[in-house]
């Protein structure tokens, strides 16, 4: 892995350049880097499970962010009804999301696996709408938030003071990445999943139950969005439509990283998080952050396609 990256001069140049930009920023606007990295954790944590589904089940799940928000709502109601702390809700939420993933796979996605890709896109897009409208019906469109005092914790380094709670997303993203890499490279089940991703027919004839892999990988990814949903609720206010932009951003990150590359997601997220937080540091220009986001995506995809043509 490492040798392969080092062999490509473009990656070295891009890597050095980004490192230089980050160091410069650290002196000029240190909070941009801090909040950018925190944002990156959130994006990466949500995009990693999407990459897992895409790489192995080969489905673009357009309901991805909506699953995350659904988990946030489940957490919200658990906390409100039973006075649970959101972190205690983590376990039941992850289990519920795993089961929800299984049900949805069995009853919907499974039937489009052999259909043209457009059908799969329409199906998952429909799922996104069902989840959003379902949340709207049950919880109304009123934003919800739980207040936790430790969320406002801050630290001061030199002359800059910044919120530290956001680093929890980085912690989550790192744990999810490490967990997934371990699962895919070291466990028998994970190796079977990689085999299925590369050649389902080849996997069948050597004795792998491909349908079982599909359903478990999909449910695992949905359970991971559950973890991110719980964390999301702890620091942000939620409303039914909040998931949509995370679906889009995850999709773009996956495209930037190159289909199926998990570590690539982390680098792409860092670039994106810092770029966004840089724009937002200028008063009144916050609205531009989405434009920057899509401009970056277009640039990366263009560069990649030019490289591909050579």
């Amino acid at each position: 892995m490492a040798e392969r990256i080092l062999k490509r001069p473009l990656y070295i140049i891009v890597g050095l350049l980004s490192a230089a930009v980050i160091v410069l920023l650290l002196f000029w606007k240190p909070t941009v880097v801090v909040y950018g990295v925190q944002r990156a954790g959130l994006y990466a944590g949500i995009a990693l499970p999407m990459a897992l589904i895409l790489g192995i089940v080969h489905i673009v799940n357009l309901a991805h962010g909506e699953f995350m928000i659904t988990a946030a709502y489940i957490t919200y109601f658990l906390c409100n009804s039973f006075g649970m702390s959101p972190f205690a809700a983590l376990v039941p939420v992850v289990i519920v999301m795993f089961l929800l993933g299984m049900l949805i796979f069995k009853f919907t996605i499974k039937h489009t696996l052999k259909a043209p890709e457009l059908n799969q896109l329409i199906l998952t897009f429909g799922l996104a709408m069902v989840l959003t409208q379902g949340l709207n019906l049950i919880a109304t469109s009123q934003p919800r938030k739980i207040s936790l005092d430790f969320v406002t914790s801050s630290a001061t380094v030199g002359e800059t003071t910044f919120g530290t709670y956001g680093f929890i997303y980085d912690l989550a993203a790192v744990l999810i990445l490490a967990g997934l890499l371990f699962f895919l490279r070291k466990t028998k089940f994970g190796k079977a999943a990689v085999a299925v991703g590369q050649n389902p027919r080849g996997a069948r004839i050597i004795g792998i139950d491909v349908n079982k892999i599909y359903i478990l990988v999909f449910s695992l990814a949905i359970a991971l969005t559950g973890i991110m949903g719980v964390l999301f609720l702890t620091s942000q206010s939620i409303f039914p439509l909040a998931g949509g932009s995370y679906t889009m951003k995850s999709f773009c990150l996956v495209a930037m990283a190159g289909m199926g590359s998990l570590p690539g997601i982390v680098f792409a997220s860092i670039g994106l998080g810092i770029a966004e937080s840089f724009i937002m540091s200028f008063q009144g220009y916050g609205g531009w952050s989405n434009i920057v986001f899509f401009a970056l995506i277009i640039i990366v995809i263009l560069i990649k396609s030019f490289k591909g043509k050579r």
Partner: protein
């Protein structure tokens, strides 16, 4: 060992196999026929990659007609597909390892099977760390055969194994098959009828989805139809 009773297979409306029956005992059997005759379809039906519309398939006394492909593999049928079906972004070693990992009777004997396969194809050991997708066509064919052998099958099915292999390796392959058939049953389809008749015990000729001819290898060699259509004399 394997018994096929009157199966019919369709792709949509295209009737590919017609009321076809055949048998493999403890022996090596060749399956010959022109392009499009239905050889690959028959193999796919055996391992349930397509479901026959009628008839049944018995393996070791057990009806496997409706079993799933992965359970059939676990019961001891290994396939070397015409299209190889390797895992291109995995190394040679990983491909081989997976060949044994999900088969109950060999999953704890990976090292032993690996040694067997490396003995068979030394080039695979040399290329252990190379990605399967970057190997040449012939090397990939050897890897596909190696992966199937990792499963130590009771029945080994090879769909056009000589495709893309250099002649010296082809004859070596058939010598090895002849040796292997002492321990396992073999079903092989081939365009290279001359070579494969040397190593099989019996052969079937499949034409338009029906068995046109069935005989021992010796008799097929002297059969006028086979000579004219397949041995090209």
């Amino acid at each position: 060992m394997l018994e096929i009773n009157g199966i019919d297979c369709y792709y949509g409306k295209l009737h590919v196999l017609r009321n076809l029956s055949f048998k493999i005992g403890d022996e090596a059997v060749g399956l010959f026929g022109p392009n499009g005759a239905g050889k690959t379809t028959l193999i796919n039906a055996i391992i349930s990659l397509i479901k026959p519309a009628a008839g049944d398939i018995i393996f070791d006394g057990e009806n496997i007609t409706t079993s799933e492909t992965h359970t059939i593999a676990k019961k001891g049928i290994a396939l070397v597909p015409q299209e190889r079906e390797l895992f291109p972004e995995m190394t040679v070693y990983e491909n081989l390892e997976l060949g044994a990992a999900f088969i109950p009777h060999v999953k704890n004997r990976t090292a032993e099977r690996l040694e067997f396969v490396y003995n068979f194809f030394p080039v695979l050991k040399e290329r252990e760390k190379q990605h399967a997708g970057t190997m040449s066509g012939g090397q990939q064919r050897m890897l596909a055969i190696g992966r199937a052998l990792m499963a130590d099958p009771k029945l080994l099915i090879l769909d056009e194994p000589s495709l893309g292999l250099q002649p010296s390796i082809v004859s070596e392959l058939f010598e090895k098959l002849a040796e292997m058939k002492k321990h396992i049953s073999v079903l092989v389809t081939e365009q290279n009828v001359r070579e494969s008749l040397k190593s099989v015990d019996r052969g079937y000729v499949l034409e338009n989805g029906e068995i046109a001819l069935e005989d021992t290898a010796e008799n097929l060699k002297s059969n006028p139809h086979v000579i004219k259509a397949y041995l090209g004399i």
